[in-house]
Amino acid sequence: MEAIQAFQRVVDDPGGYLQTITARRKIIGYCCTYTPEEIIFAAGAHPVRLFGSKGTIQRADAHLQAYSCSLVRGVLEDALAGNLEALDGMVFPHTCDSIQRLSDIWRLNIASTWHNDVVLPVKLNTESAHEYMLDVLKKFRRELQAWIGAPLTDAALQESIATYNRLRGLLKRAYEIKSGDPGLLSGRAVNTMVKGAMIMDRNEAIQHLEVLVPALEAGTGNTARSTAKRVILAGSICNHPEIYDIVESAGAQVVWDELCTGSRFFEGQIDVDGDPLAAIARRYIGRMNCPAKHKDLRSRGETLLRMAQDHTAGGVIFLNFKFCEPHAFDYPYLKEMLQGQNIPSLLLEIDQELPAAGQLATRIEAFIETM
């Protein structure tokens, strides 16, 4: 499919793609789905999600211990290696302890970029946290505006909200079609689509999706109904599309996910009425949370159970980054809640490099057999 190929090109060479944008707009990097990118987009800048280096980590080792996760090390490696020269700025929302320190290390070592901390609340379930969230977004708007040197108007914010609602709606629609007819689109293609949409100019991504989604819709029903077993992926980001291939060769399909390279990016539409910043804040508060944020004691478990029910999934595969504490802390209770509903789960700890392909395939195949 042409649209997937377009997304694939930017995923394969984000640096090359950003070169085509840099003459027109300031480029701002981020590495967390709590980044209020609607505000960046409204300011006329281009927000780009960083996924970390795919090569060996060398330079980052001078700044980060080996017990840091591969995302934090990989992103810093890319910056130190000069792979992110297209970036004009970098935004760090507060999420986990590691990203918190990555922000400091970045500020002290990567002098060439504008640096901004968006220190969001850690809890999302109180009135004062909501007020603080809005205050922080206002501050970010002010600081971004000052740096860009042009007014960031409510009208621009509203337009940006409309763009994001459109983009997220289309991604969600593609997911729904895939869930209804999993054989229609490979998991690898889905992964490419979401990641591509986080790198590509958002309007350009919409254009591709507006071709892709109707094509998928037209394709449903033409293929024999898939008999594959239905799996959900949970975790932060998936940098290893091979995992989707292995799941599929084992006779299953990923029908939904709870990933930052997935539903955490597109879930939750922003209200188009009222104060745009307040509406943006409400989405980040209401959307399914990352384990580094506190909503209530079982919010992630409930989200996963609902997802499994909505998509008749028979199992969950956790893709936890090695050394990622927030996800590691949640795993035992999530596993238990799923077990309570007879949903088996498998934990894969993912580092920079995947374990030997055969070993991973054996584990995934064995798990899918038990489903």
Partner: protein
């Protein structure tokens, strides 16, 4: 066994006499906590950097899982409990304080047969994000209310938004306490407790400052032991009185030139949490090189924000006091504090514990090391270990590295 040997008066002179009293106070404290229910008192679990003063106002007994995990480490029970947590599904990369505590709660194990079950939990994330995940686990396990006191990290400054948010939470915290305790908050009592807290912090800083004397009357290893009071009994008369005595003893030792390391020649600074399971070994290892760890960044963290505290209005001033502690600030600010300590305590080198269990403390250490080396040219030793999990400690390798480091110090200082 030690009692069977004839007493050595020279060695006795070196011992800190207050230590026995400290042990007695801590024993009594844990007995009180474990019998709280029989005495109609509530127990709250609270993080080490949490706003404990309000709990004292409400006559709630604060219990510190972190202090307990440190005891687990010191009694070398960490490896076993961490393994149990791993069998429960908690990955071995999770903080070992959390792993030990989570495991211990299920079997009432550890050196004191477990902590008394909490009536509620108070989690302040000024030390890390880990505590929030850890306290969520315990809130689910015990089925008790959890109050999260969210203190946004101050990377470079203290924005107005942060002040306003934390101030509102101070009020929410009091309301929460009134609800769970079923009684009104006494603001007059808060004034008293606030004064005692600040007094305790000042005394603790004065105690730590006696190590400016040469030889140093105590070491960081002693501070790791005596800090239990500023953590667990901050805001009480007990802490103030004990620290007055300890301060007097330290000043007397300083005046009489009694050093804790018999022939102190080299003065070092320790960074990060203690390696609880190797305290004695490390202390002897450095002493054998005539080196005294005279200061550390960890125990001084409990008085790291005194400049923001106002005993006339503790509640209001604790907004900054609890948000701007050492650790909840940028790496460059932490480096500046260490630089000041280098001069203040006149140290010849730094030992950095790169602690697998504490990311906010450890990530950034390499940059701090570089900044300090660039400015002071001081030798810095980086030891990779874990505060509680003794399975992560490679004794022979670390011994060799300490010896090599001390050689460099000796060559530099002569």
């Amino acid at each position: 066994m030690a009692e069977d040997k004839p007493r050595d008066p020279e060695k006795d002179k070196l011992k800190i006499k207050s230590a026995k009293k400290m042990r007695d106070i801590m024993t009594a404290y844990y007995i009180d906590a474990k019998t709280a229910r029989d005495n109609g008192k509530k127990v709250a679990w609270i993080t080490s950097g949490g706003p404990v003063e309000a709990l004292h106002v409400m006559d709630v007994i604060p219990v510190y899982p972190e202090n307990h995990s440190a005891m687990i480490g010191a009694t070398k029970m960490g490896g076993g409990l961490c393994e149990l947590a791993e069998n429960m599904g908690y990955c071995s990369d999770i903080c070992s304080y959390a792993r030990s505590d989570i495991a211990c709660a299920t079997i009432n194990g550890g050196p004191i047969g477990g902590l008394p079950a909490p009536d509620f939990l108070v989690c302040c994330n000024n030390i890390c994000g880990t505590v929030m995940k850890w306290y969520e686990v315990q809130a689910r396990y015990f089925g008790v209310p959890l109050f999260i006191f969210d203190t946004p990290i101050c990377h470079t400054d203290f924005p107005e938004e942060t002040r306003s948010y934390v101030e509102k939470q101070t009020i929410e915290y009091i309301t929460f306490l009134e609800q769970v305790c079923g009684k009104k908050f006494d603001f007059d009592r808060m004034m008293e407790v606030g004064k005692l807290s600040l007094q305790g912090q000042r005394l603790w800083q004065d105690i730590l400052d006696t190590t400016m004397s040469k030889p140093s009357p105590m070491s960081a290893f002693d501070a790791f032991f005596h800090m239990a009071m500023i953590v667990t009994l901050r805001g009480t008369h007990t802490a103030v009185e004990y620290y007055q005595e300890l301060l007097a003893e330290m000043r007397e030792r300083a005046a009489n030139k009694i050093g804790v390391v018999p022939h102190e020649k080299y003065r070092l600074l320790w960074d990060n949490l203690a390696i609880w399971h190797k305290m004695k070994w490390l202390s002897e290892k450095f002493a054998a090189h005539d080196a005294c760890l005279v200061a550390d960044t960890y125990t001084s963290a409990w008085c790291s924000s005194m400049k923001y505290l106002d005993e006339g209005d503790f509640l209001k001033s604790m907004v900054q006091g609890y948000t701007r502690i050492y650790l909840n600030i940028g790496v460059d600010q932490m480096a500046d504090i260490i630089k000041n300590m280098i001069t203040k305590y006149d140290v010849d080198g730094i030992v950095m514990h790169s602690n697998r269990s504490c990311k906010p403390y450890s990530l950034g250490q390499y940059d701090i090391r570089k900044r300090i080396q660039d400015e002071f040219g001081l030798p810095i030793l980086m030891i990779e270990a874990d505060m509680v999990d003794e399975r992560a400690f490679s004794e022979s390798q670390i011994a060799t590295r300490i010896d090599a480091f001390m050689e460099v110090i000796k060559q530099q200082k002569g």
